[in-house]
Symmetry: C2
């Protein structure tokens, strides 16, 4: 074959070389150009099509690199065997939105799991992503260290020491794609021969995770200081999962005395561990923070969990776990081969985000934002002071209202719903029998100040009647 | 306070408003400006510093948003309580490289796990990342669907149907950060009451993963067609983990007959499953591919695993698992609450990569590249035809050389090492007693054609003597 008549269109936004490439590729796939058939030389085809020779060379180069044609020295180009090649139909997947699950419509939603995404530093994030991908380093696309990149783990250690009083070296840190994953990994490290205690009411996500990993999970009663260590002692549990800096959902900040009792419990018997989930320690509104339990642990009993998903954005699938030195060896031995779930690129972006000061700014900004909403909500709820009391309001992004008197939780929720407001009952967080006083959770991270003001006014009017 | 004398430097690359912001921030943190102290008005400070008023307003705005100052209507700006604020020391983490673990130096490394990273389409990747982050959509940074985004799962289904003959709907697909993670998740779905059979020799990563999840794992003998179903039947195993399209490490492609026997085994008893790991099905060099086992499964017994980590780049932590419909319900019930380990942004990048045709091009390009290396290696090893035979060469990125005669595997490896070449013994992949003939693995994905030519020449000379 010496000529290929291709109907080139110089006005098409597809470049000429690509038009030639596409035409020949399709001819070979369809069999119009048969296997082993010789293609015209680049010189001849360029002349025939009245394009520059380099245009044809570019097209042939691409066909060659993708295996559609083969070159033979001194003989020219030939159509290749295309049986094994991929021809994916490129038609776009139709993004038929599934019938949006019939969501109940609320005017205001006080979800306790909200994060203000409008304050996400999009520009900084884009800039860092771009900078890092610009590097073009092959290293970026290798499979990284199973535990997480060393530089990133160093940055995490440094941050944890300064912000949370956590004492650790990078060797103790494991980076993973979310806290759920890290808990699964931790279960493999600890082995199945444990009984897990959780706070009651509790963070159901963790509770369900331990159940899914086939553990016996025991809910432990709480008082105003957190998990009752005396109640814990009465069980066979040897692993206690706690949220001492801001208990979820009650908002209790565990005081020093209770922390010491808990550490003492763990020290009393070989193989006991405390899992400290510091999921939203970033947001406190009153006084100095109590440092992490991990910082007071002398016996190597505390496993510390933290996350960037809450403090940067939920879509940033990046959490970290700090193991006691002793468990680090067990991890390396039993699970050290498990590949990292976080890409090197993402780790470098977050590392730069922390090191270049963006994280500090972002934390202070969102804290200030949430504090404004927090103050406004408390002010707006003041008219209810006769019928309920506020608790859990010193940290996090939600507070609790506990009602004294004859009203039930269900009635409270229904009344709010009728007025277009979604609030959350504490009962949903209780494992087993529900015996708490009627209590609702109000999260404020997702609502604007205007919305909080309006919603609080409505709540006051429906709940006081 | 009516004046703040800040030594502004207009030549500094830090903008003026930022210099003002930094000065006041540090003054407040250090206590030089005390809590509740009033700041000069923006008008006065602008006049005093001889800058525009908007410059000062920008600085105050930032201080306000980060909580360093507070504004009071009609009264002005005051230093805020900074006890709870973050002040992270921004000094860069020193990237002291740990003593690079003393790696044995080889001139050529025939690792069977290599991927050619030079052919990674950096430009396309950067462009897609940029496009997607440009969208600025708050949606991108929400926590996505635990199973993976619907659009992405649709794209995966479509690709799997076209390229691998896998029949599934998006509801059956679960996206996760790597195959190790998906296997962990699968273990939670299946529960602990199973006995797992693996091929022997085997992909040790999967073997170790099942062990880490506390399963009894039984190695099953193979013949030239893959796992012996008769041997499998003699055990109590009810889950079989296999790599039928290219057994790792022997490279055996399981023929249709054996596949049918395996499916029959699974169908015979309730609760039996086959895990089909199609880890490198993308690279075949001869004839048409045999479609995935999953495509022939009528009884809903096959769990299909695939990954973009091998076909795009190891750092792309993105794999997928296709569950039988029946198990999909179990997954939703037991593990549907577990958050996704892959960010929405990354899923959208890969989705566009597939839909816009980049993936097809990349696959054909790397396949062509690997085929070139594959052909060259086989040609280069021809002089050894008297002392060994080649197998496993029809797919994947490695082949095996089995030696007949008196030489041991160790001797082969040592001779190569002496000549600066790293090859891999089959024994490392065998669980239990080693009784195979002396066999070495040669992976060629990571070596250039020149390197392959040179290394093959050396190997021929040292192994023939």
């Amino acid at each position: 074959m010496n000529e290929l008549t291709i109907d080139l269109n110089p006005k098409d936004k597809m470049p000429l070389y690509e038009q030639i490439y596409q035409y020949i590729k399709e001819s070979i796939i369809s069999g119009r150009i048969a296997y082993r058939e010789k293609l015209p030389s680049t010189r001849l085809l360029a002349k025939h099509l009245e394009v520059s020779r380099s245009t044809v060379e570019l097209a042939y180069g691409q066909l060659l690199s993708e295996g559609y044609i083969e070159s033979e020295p001194y003989r020219g180009f030939f159509a290749a065997q295309v049986e094994g090649l991929y021809h994916l139909v490129n038609e776009k997947v139709s993004h038929r939105e599934k019938e949006a699950v019939k969501k109940e419509r609320y005017r205001f939603d006080f979800t306790p799991n909200g994060v203000d995404l409008k304050s996400f530093p999009y520009n900084a994030w884009r800039k860092l992503s771009k900078d890092i991908l610009m590097d073009d380093k092959v290293e970026l696309f290798r499979l990284g260290n199973p535990q997480g990149e060393t530089g990133f783990r160093e940055a995490v250690c440094k941050y944890l020491y300064q912000a949370r009083g956590v004492n650790c070296s990078p060797e103790q840190v494991i980076v993973g794609a979310g806290s759920d994953y890290l808990l699964m990994l931790l279960c493999a490290v600890l082995g199945r021969e444990h009984v897990v205690a959780v706070e009651n009411p509790s963070y159901k996500q963790a509770y369900r995770l331990f159940v899914s990993q086939s553990y016996q999970v025991l809910p432990i009663e709480m008082d105003g200081y957190g998990m009752k260590v005396s109640a814990l002692r009465d069980t066979e549990a040897d692993v206690a999962y706690v949220t001492p800096s801001h208990q979820y959902p009650t908002g209790i900040v565990m005081p020093m005395k209770r922390r010491m009792e808990l550490l003492k419990w763990a020290d009393e018997k070989e193989g006991r561990y405390i899992i400290e989930d510091d999921y939203d320690s970033e947001f406190r509104y009153k006084g100095k923070p109590i440092p992490a339990l991990q910082g007071c642990d002398r016996g190597g009993r505390v496993i510390y969990l933290g996350t960037f998903s809450k403090s940067i954005a939920p879509a940033i699938r990046m959490s970290y776990m700090v193991l006691p030195v002793e468990l680090t060896d067990v991890y390396l031995d039993k699970c050290g081969f498990i590949s990292s779930t976080v890409s090197v690129v993402d780790q470098l972006i977050v590392q730069r985000f922390v090191e270049d000061g963006y994280y500090e700014r972002h934390l202070n900004k969102t804290r200030s934002l949430y504090k404004g909403r927090h103050d406004l909500l408390i002010k707006g709820l003041a008219p209810l002071s006769g019928v309920c009391r506020i608790s859990g309001e010193h940290a996090g992004v939600h507070l609790l209202l506990t009602f004294n008197g004859e009203v039930t939780e269900d009635e409270l929720i229904k009344k709010a719903k009728k007025a277009g407001i979604r609030v959350y009952g504490l009962s949903d967080y209780i494992i087993g029998e529900k015996k708490e006083e009627p209590t609702v959770l109000l999260g404020y991270a997702n609502l604007s100040e205007k919305e909080i003001k309006d919603a609080a006014e409505i709540l006051c009017s429906v709940w006081r009647s």
